[in-house]
Symmetry: D2
Amino acid sequence: MQRDVSAHLDIGIAAPTTLEFQVAAARQPGLELNESLVFELDGRTIWPQEISGPHGSRIHKFDSGTGNLQVHYRATVLGTAHPEPVSDYDLALYLRPSRFAESDKLFGFAAAEFDSAAAPAELAAAVTAWARRRIRYIAGSSDPTDGAVETLLSGAGVCRDYTHLIVALLRALKVPARMVAVYAPGLFPMDFHAVAEAYVDGMWRAFDATGLAPRSSLVRIATGRDASDAAFMDNHGGEVFVNNIWVNAIIEGFLPFDNGVDPVSIV
Amino acid sequence: MQRDVSAHLDIGIAAPTTLEFQVAAARQPGLELNESLVFELDGRTIWPQEISGPHGSRIHKFDSGTGNLQVHYRATVLGTAHPEPVSDYDLALYLRPSRFAESDKLFGFAAAEFDSAAAPAELAAAVTAWARRRIRYIAGSSDPTDGAVETLLSGAGVCRDYTHLIVALLRALKVPARMVAVYAPGLFPMDFHAVAEAYVDGMWRAFDATGLAPRSSLVRIATGRDASDAAFMDNHGGEVFVNNIWVNAIIEGFLPFDNGVDPVSIV
Amino acid sequence: MQRDVSAHLDIGIAAPTTLEFQVAAARQPGLELNESLVFELDGRTIWPQEISGPHGSRIHKFDSGTGNLQVHYRATVLGTAHPEPVSDYDLALYLRPSRFAESDKLFGFAAAEFDSAAAPAELAAAVTAWARRRIRYIAGSSDPTDGAVETLLSGAGVCRDYTHLIVALLRALKVPARMVAVYAPGLFPMDFHAVAEAYVDGMWRAFDATGLAPRSSLVRIATGRDASDAAFMDNHGGEVFVNNIWVNAIIEGFLPFDNGVDPVSIV
Amino acid sequence: MQRDVSAHLDIGIAAPTTLEFQVAAARQPGLELNESLVFELDGRTIWPQEISGPHGSRIHKFDSGTGNLQVHYRATVLGTAHPEPVSDYDLALYLRPSRFAESDKLFGFAAAEFDSAAAPAELAAAVTAWARRRIRYIAGSSDPTDGAVETLLSGAGVCRDYTHLIVALLRALKVPARMVAVYAPGLFPMDFHAVAEAYVDGMWRAFDATGLAPRSSLVRIATGRDASDAAFMDNHGGEVFVNNIWVNAIIEGFLPFDNGVDPVSIV
């Protein structure tokens, strides 16, 4: 499998700051990455520090003065990722409530809406189908501080919000679940995407209530508890404005078919 | 119809304060009230100011020093209340969101869960049945700052919480709704009770998802937007401890039957 | 005193709905209102129902089909309003927490930040000065579901948010407080405005942490617990878009001076 | 240094469940642990799985049927822990908002209350002093779902809440911060304790706004983003009741003095 992904960001920096980016595809056994990542502030190249995170994620971090920042990432992703060995610690970690997936607030609702006694795979399917039915995809309908509770109440959101809701409900039902930021060939309109991963039948499987892109050709970027771990940019300090984002992701050959129901892992 | 109601409160006052009580039955045309209300602080009688509120409610207010406060209320309620003429302003007022019935946060959820196109009477019945099915009655499961959103999420509460959830969902569905604090013959365990009133088919009708007492023998105390208007005590100042509350409410003859479904007004 | 106020609203209605407007100046003894209020849907005049609310407020309500709605309000306001007699019930009502002024959540913070033992007038001045210092006026920084708590946390808002924060903190400090929607001669940029009223020294006085317009020439529109009672438009049903709002308010002669500190009532 | 710590838990299990405990002292270079950990369900020994987490923490996990569970942990801790090498990933991780330390909601408040330009060590000291002044230690004043925002508003809490507030405010001020669950010699009344760690002057330093125990003799148990990572028990499934907890922690010789201000690391 060959996938080509890219992201270009045009960012205005109004005050000196420290920035972290998570736009590079995760490093995973089985994948060959041919990539380039360039940061330019007012035309001068900035050399970031690369920090390795869990699940192959990489943070690119640097201090920046004011000016116009251009981020250019481009990668050809060859092969398919081998599944990461399942860690017992991860199964504990991804059951815990998190900032935007406040499962501890949803125990009652989840128990009333779903059949707690069902197997994890069935629960993940049921929660995903429910979120698809109940939440409307409306660009701009949510705030950066919104989590699963707000999405449940408002009934509207984007991929981030669908993912938080699935993750929070599954954790409340005792199914380990997490968020994955991805490049998504076939997504329309093209953008960064996010899906849920849940631990079912001994594997981490992808669940996407938006149904906007096939799961088998997703390219993993960052994996974590929620958007706090998977944001494409973190700004620590000055005021920063994202002027524009262009994302692209294509797969060589035909886009795979996804019925939205069969178990699929991110490879 | 003859109903006999009483409330005795034993309250410790640790610092001087101003207190307001709403324990007296509402004054309404058609009802004859034979009542006594006594406030004693360490054995000395306190004479409160009586403030008339909307829908016949009465606030009894006074400043109090420290000590032990005993409140004794006792009333024989004869006859049945004539329905208050419906006010256009009330229909506007009781559609608005309020502190504990945050309907503005529930538009999305309500629209996804219920059929917005249904008639108000059907919506009120559907919302009440849903709350009865989804919320578990658990004494002590909620906090004084909890509103309809917390009840929806936690799936547990007491009469106050059921009422807030019904009221908030109905307002979100464009049905005017409010809270009524009541004496409730037949309630077990006996206590102050609260139900929702919704404006359906041209009248204010009572809805009680707890199903704990027949609606036709309820005695109205205070009526308002939510618990902020209908609390039996408001404390403005010093620290106050409710040591004990004894409430009683009986009806002469047989307790009326309530199938929980037929339209019933509070009389 | 002569004040001339006007509001023109251009509203798109995408689905049939019921609308309520509060744009007309409150009817108050001492004021002479020469006014016109016209509603036109796609050029055809709509005749609304006028509903009288508390404190002289008026709701104009009607059902509307789809189309473009133009609202034209214009009034010449002569004289000054006599102060409304203070109602004991209002003093109880406006101490209670409300949807966007959640004073019950702020008892601890208010007690730690302010001197609870101070007189109401001092508290109102202190809270107003504090809000002015701590909150930044940023258009678009708040959501319609935000209340005083969000404003306290985010440190940003518009006139509505300043008002909610003042009102909530004052109630937490046992000072009755409410919101008033007003026309505000001298406001820049001109728009609808909102200020707090607090009960100090036996009168309702205006407090405005934005300091954007003199208080003595404000023209009262609606008065209530918070924005839920004072919104210029309530939409009950279909989707509605406010395309544009033009507000104007001028005073004959010189704009009065307001040092922001002296006690001022809305007349 | 020799410290002796122990914890005994008496837990009722009303329905089969999976439990995780974090009561064992963290394994860290420089420390010698002589310990025993016994789980008994109705007198029969249960053998847990030990899962290693970050910063030396250990999770003890097992499935349990119904009955009475007794947990007995006892350790003699010899020596002092060598500081863990500072990880760049941790510095990114512990700047992110988390479930109970919602720093993203507090940017505005933190910037208004503290001097963002100050050095991290000064900010940590200022935030700790502020929390000590503003929050009252009241047992039972907070709920398990409360985070830093609730503590800020209510002005009351226990060690968990003080820690969340410090951690959240420091992250909002761009200082990496996290929670540490500890045994705390000298704590009165004795219990599990929690403090904040902030990254200042190139090291992780302990900050404790409760001032209830000297920091230099704390024994680290679990370290993480907030209470979601550091709870002594996680219950995944059935209903569980903590009947009783007895904690003990003593240091050989004199309890060290802590002026609450000097930089101290947990060793």
